[in-house]
Amino acid sequence: MSAYRFDRLKILVVDDNVHMRKLVVTILQAFGVIQIFEAESGERAWAILRESNPDVVVLDWMMEGLSGLDLVQMIRTDSQTPNPFVPVIMLTGHTHIDRVRQARDAGINEFIAKPVSVKVMMSRLMSVIENPRPFVRTKSYFGPCRRRRGSPEYRGPERRTEKTILAAE
């Protein structure tokens, strides 16, 4: 048993509010993350993504210009994306179910509802490390599987007619 080497991670923090960025960066630094990139806009984040190819993106939803949702869609589907599988953790004040669904449909991996708490931040980070979701490609969507963890206990209706599981590992 050993602790994670968070110092090996590169994390991009995207928020147009300088205070919220500082808060998130402070938490990540205390976790031991050293390489943290900051972007104050979706446009700047896209440039940093392409230059630095971070391991995780922590992203605000509502920003002027390119929003958090727009950026996630670019990360997942743009031909210039450096890594369509990069885990995206979305910070948001939106907690209404429709908004959660909207973000999920854009391809985010995890949510953090504001106010930001240290334990939730750690738990979401651990979640993308320990429990990555499979990816799904359909005509209209590419991103993490939107069914929570593909749970084997799922007892709801099976809506998919064709399922192909490709082991990429």
Binding site: M122, T138, L166
Partner: protein, 160 residues
């Protein structure tokens, strides 16, 4: 009920796990304690951060009052929404609540319906007063009554 389009489901290599190494032993409490201590230190700065956010909201309100339109309305929504998310973190839960009410008003009101500057101002002024009086808990009866009233007015406007 079946979905008609074929899907491809696959598991990408877990590069993140390979990079950080180690194994899952529960939440890393040492790291959590370090981060909570770092947040405590930051709390000294929260007062000036909250002040910046109040100024930003007032500026967005002024821009909307000077030139009502979709761009200034969107700017006001962003400022209110940010404040809703941040005020609770900065120990101003009642500001978060009033900012949430303002966000709901702007967001849920159809774009074609005029946004009442009077109701916007009532929210902005309430936030200003709560911040000025440093109301940082939920037990202030006047501030609570004000929040309730604003939420009721928004519900009335939205017909909900």
């Amino acid at each position: 009920m079946s979905r008609q389009q074929p899907i491809e489901l696959f598991m990408p290599p877990n590069m993140l796990k390979a990079k950080v190494g180690g194994s899952f032993v529960g939440l890393d409490m040492a790291a959590i304690n370090r981060a909570e201590a770092a947040m405590e230190e930051l709390k000294n700065e929260f007062a000036s951060w909250a002040q910046d956010d109040v100024r930003r909201l007032v500026a967005a309100r002024d821009a909307f009052a000077a030139e009502p339109g979709s761009a200034t309305r969107a700017g006001l929504l962003r400022a209110a929404h940010d404040m809703k998310g941040q005020a609770a973190t900065f120990n101003y839960p009642l500001i978060a609540r009033v900012a949430g009410s303002l966000s709901r008003l702007i967001h849920d009101l159809p774009e074609t319906t005029e946004l009442s500057l009077g109701l916007v101002d009532a929210h902005v002024n309430a936030i200003h007063v709560i911040y000025r009086d440093k109301v940082m808990d939920m037990s202030n009866k006047v501030a609570l009554a004000l929040s309730n009233e604003l939420e009721a007015r928004v519900a009335e406007v939205l017909g909900s």
